[in-house]
């Protein structure tokens, strides 16, 4: 995995004409953004954050998508355990 990451970083850096350090920096930013969105949505779904605040932080599309997914997962688990 480590070798694969190094290879990818090198290939991206060469293709984009960037120093490898900047590729790492951008990867960290993107990864952090994903983790942040997960945290906001988890807090919203757990009732710790209200809907408007969640929308303000991650956008309406992601909140609405999470709501649809939640409904689907709840239906599926309920069906699976009781079918």
């Amino acid at each position: 995995m480590a070798a694969e990451i190094s290879d990818r970083v090198r290939e991206i850096a060469e293709a984009r004409g960037l120093p490898e350090s900047e590729v790492f920096e951008r990867a960290l930013e993107r990864g952090l953004e994903d983790l942040w969105e997960d945290l906001v949505l988890a807090r919203y779904l757990d009732g710790e954050l209200d809907r408007e605040e969640a929308i303000e932080r991650v956008g309406r599309t992601k909140v609405e998508r999470a709501e649809r997914e939640r409904t689907v997962v709840e239906e599926d688990v309920d069906w699976g355990l009781n079918a």
Partner: protein
């Protein structure tokens, strides 16, 4: 009797977490030819040969949603014709199926079903749900999977 027809999604996603055998929980499993060909394009998972299933032709003329691919349309058509559960992980296909009165569930439902029928323990079901989110091409929000696991524990 529990009968189902999957589109390619659940077959691929369950294979990706080495849990295709959970589909054996269904008494009858129908696989439309179109869906089989879609799965075949990526390489038929070895575990599929261990599951009893019947390949069927679908009459897709009554499923006109252009947003769906051929396999999804075929699976909905078979589900409607045979009055069986549709298995899909695609939200649009799920809504289209519900709109025509088809009962529909996804890979997470299959895992919960395996748990409910005693094929796997709750702890394993939770691990598989997390693996489904982290290790497969299925897109589902991390927090939503955790909500599903929480429900497993509550019931």
């Amino acid at each position: 009797m529990l009968a189902a027809v999957p589109d390619a999604g659940p077959v691929i996603h369950l294979a990706e977490i080495d849990s295709l055998d959970l589909l054996s929980v269904f008494d009858t499993l129908l696989v439309p030819e179109t869906v089989y060909r879609e799965v075949e394009a990526g390489g038929v998972p070895d575990a599929l040969s261990d599951i009893p299933y019947e390949r069927v032709e679908a009459d897709e003329r009554h499923v006109e949603t252009e947003e769906l691919d051929a396999g999804e349309r075929a699976a909905i058509a078979v589900a409607k014709e045979h009055e069986v559960v549709l298995l899909t992980d695609d939200l649009v296909a799920r809504e289209a199926a519900s709109d025509v009165g088809v009962e529909v569930h996804g890979s997470i439902g299959v895992i919960a079903l395996g748990c409910g029928r005693g094929l796997i323990e709750r702890g394993e079901a939770a691990s598989l749900m997390r693996a489904l989110q982290r290790e497969t091409s299925l897109f589902v929000t991390d927090a939503v999977v955790e909500r599903g696991i929480q429900l497993l524990d509550e019931q």
